[in-house]
């Protein structure tokens, strides 16, 4: 049953009957079959579901990396389907911080340079970039590792650098795609604690995972199956 969404809503992210269809050769793949969901400012949500259930597709749409085949997707009341690819890039830069399973750091660059990267594409004045990037690394507890290259850092530290990079543009949303997928249990706990702290400071966090104990950090859990939302559970964690 599609949920009713309020047109006057001030939800941070609002999806209304969003579908996404890919053409694979001659076959149409319905990755999302009419999803309506809202994410409020300051929420922390875990999206779960088996592979191919549509959770990654939804993440790509929310991350403004792709546009829906039909339906309406609004971020801060801006309809993404009306935006050009440059506008989408600007929106990603200003509003969204990405955290990936494989960290996706530039191997040749220091931690500080990696964190500076999104700021270089932003409107932040050049002279402020260094200080902001350094501040973000301090927030994730890597003040003493700024000059280290990714190779010289542990997996957990690399993911912290990636989180610092996601924070650099002062985003309202952090999208984390399997953020602990490449980490051991103890490090996973540290990373989830960090994301929870950031959420407590008001940043909306949406993460994709298929580990229940990781999902349990989130107050809200969405379960996807076959391109639709199977359940939307809110609890107190």
């Amino acid at each position: 049953m599609p949920q009713q969404s309020d047109p006057q809503s001030h939800a941070l992210i609002a999806c209304e009957n969003v579908t996404k269809t890919y053409i694979m050769g001659t076959q149409e793949v319905h990755a999302l079959r009419g999803v309506s969901v809202e994410f409020q400012r300051g929420e922390m949500t875990a999206i779960m579901g088996p592979s191919g259930s549509g959770k990654s597709t939804l993440m790509n749409l929310i991350g403004a990396l792709d546009v829906p085949s039909s339906g309406v997707l609004k971020i801060e009341n801006r309809d993404l389907s009306s935006l050009s690819s440059d506008d989408l890039a600007g929106l990603r830069n200003a509003k969204i911080g990405f955290v990936f399973q494989q960290f996706n750091l530039l191997a040749r660059a220091s931690a500080l340079t990696n964190v500076k990267l999104p700021l270089r594409y932003s409107r932040v004045p050049t002279e402020d970039i260094e200080a902001r990037a350094a501040h973000c690394l301090e927030l994730v507890g890597l003040a003493d590792r700024m000059d280290h290259r990714p190779m010289q850092l542990s997996g957990g530290q690399q993911q912290r650098v990636a989180i610092a990079r996601a924070l650099a543009g002062s985003p309202s949303i952090i999208l984390a795609d399997e953020p602990t997928g490449a980490l051991d249990t103890k490090t996973s706990e540290e990373i989830m604690a960090l994301l929870t702290d950031l959420n407590a400071e008001g940043i909306t966090v949406i993460l994709v995972t298929h580990e229940q104990d990781v999902a349990d950090y989130a107050a809200r859990q969405l379960l996807f199956r076959d391109g639709e939302i199977e359940s939307d559970l809110r609890g107190t964690s």
Binding site: L65, D66, S85, A89, R108, Y121, G169
Partner: protein
């Protein structure tokens, strides 16, 4: 697009693979060096031709008698009825004539005290020094009074002065040319080698009357004979028009009936030299073309390595897009990388090209002309190659789908 960001990313990428960057640059370096060397060499050759033309008088038309034909037998070059002093004087008032001089040439044995020297002797009018733009280095040249009086004066070239007077002044000295005593009134400025390889300074110039009557000897049948006429065309006057008008005037003077062939020939020295050097410049164009081909091959190398670089860095491109790089940012980053390769290669190549041109000049003994323009053209060509061959890989990078790029292994 943020130039600073693109520039920094490009430099980081080039330094990440120094050997690969260097090898790619090598292609551009060789291309630019050969373009540069070829341009320097053909420019040098062109300058040499220009220098020869101006040394012989760029605005000069020469008139010589034609080849006589009697009963189908050709008398050889300039065997037709010779010109006379009156022919020269008749041309003097034509509007296109700035200066006109008669000439007869011969050889003479020059003796000064105990030394002697075999040289070329020219009998001329005063205007000769105008048409040839030839001034005295010391003393003076012949003037109209000297010519009209058929004075026993001589103006000598630098080679004669060096060989017969060895440092002491030749002015006022007596010389004997073919046993005729003459006094030296001037030493000419040096003109160096002519286009034909002979020494233009190895000459004694005397009034035409003196040459005809005493030093070289006259024509068996024509008392006031003139072997050739040299016309300096009024500056600004169209050379082809002047040549046509001169031919018409000469036909009247030589009383040639309508329809009959000319018994004289007018030639443009500058055209003659240009025609003579046209094989040389064709060769130059061919060499420049070969050099350009090697530059293009270098460009293909750049394109190849840029495509490899784009493929290798697909995930990086995806990441940059995810965190807010626009297509134009990615395009700029890779374009600047290609441009950087070509520009650095171009600058190093230009230095190598100058070296190669200098080396060729020393070994092959021909002139090279290296100007800032040539260096700018060479480096500019390398930048164009960078833009052209860098664009396709850069556009390919910019058009990647960020989702697929992020997932790329």
């Amino acid at each position: 697009m943020k130039i600073g960001v693109a520039l920094r990313s490009a430099i980081e990428a080039l330094l990440a693979n120094p050997l690969r960057s260097f090898l790619t640059m090598l292609g551009i370096m060789i291309g630019v060096a050969s373009v540069m060397a070829m341009m320097a060499i053909s420019e040098g050759a062109a300058r040499q031709v220009d220098a020869q033309i101006s040394a012989l008088g760029a605005n000069n038309l020469n008139i010589r008698p034609g080849a006589s034909r009697r009963g189908g037998r050709s008398g050889g070059a300039a065997s037709d009825q010779p010109f006379v002093d009156a022919t020269v004087e008749a041309l003097r008032d034509e509007p296109y004539v700035q200066a006109v001089t008669a000439r007869i040439n011969g050889t003479g044995n020059v003796v000064a005290s105990e030394l002697n020297w075999s040289t070329s002797v020219q009998g001329v009018n005063a205007d000769y020094f105008i048409t040839q733009d030839w001034r005295a280095d010391e003393g003076r040249v012949l003037d109209t009074a000297d010519i009209n009086g058929s004075e026993a004066f001589a103006v000598i070239g630098q080679t004669i002065a060096d060989n017969l007077f060895e440092g002491s002044s030749a002015i006022g000295q007596r010389i004997r040319v073919n046993n005729v005593p003459l006094s030296v009134i001037g030493v000419l400025q040096s003109k160096g080698q002519s286009n034909f390889g002979n020494d233009r300074d190895d000459v004694v110039i005397i009034p035409i009357g003196t040459a005809r009557n005493r030093v070289l000897g006259g024509h068996p049948t024509t008392p006031n004979y003139v072997a050739a006429i040299e016309v300096g065309v009024t500056p600004g006057y169209d050379m082809e028009l002047a040549q046509e008008e001169l031919e018409t005037r000469m036909r009247t003077l030589r009383r040639i009936r309508a329809g009959a062939d000319d018994d004289f020939r007018v030639f443009n020295i500058a055209d003659f030299i240009r025609a003579r050097s046209s094989t040389q410049s064709t060769f130059g164009v061919l060499l420049a073309f070969t050099a350009a081909v090697s530059l293009i091959v270098g460009g293909v190398g750049v394109m190849n390595i840029m495509l490899v670089s784009v493929t290798e860095r697909t995930r990086e491109i995806g990441l940059r897009m995810a965190i807010g790089a626009r297509q134009v940012d990615i395009l700029g980053q890779f374009l600047i990388e290609a441009l950087g390769l070509c520009l650095i290669g171009g600058v190093i190549g230009s230095v190598l090209g100058i070296g190669a041109a200098e080396l060729a000049s020393t070994l092959g003994d021909f002139p090279v002309e290296i100007s800032p323009t040539i260096a700018l053209i060479s480096i500019g060509a390398s930048v164009l190659v960078g833009l052209f061959f860098g664009f396709f890989p850069a556009r390919r990078a910019a058009q990647l789908n960020p989702i697929e790029a992020l997932r790329y292994d």
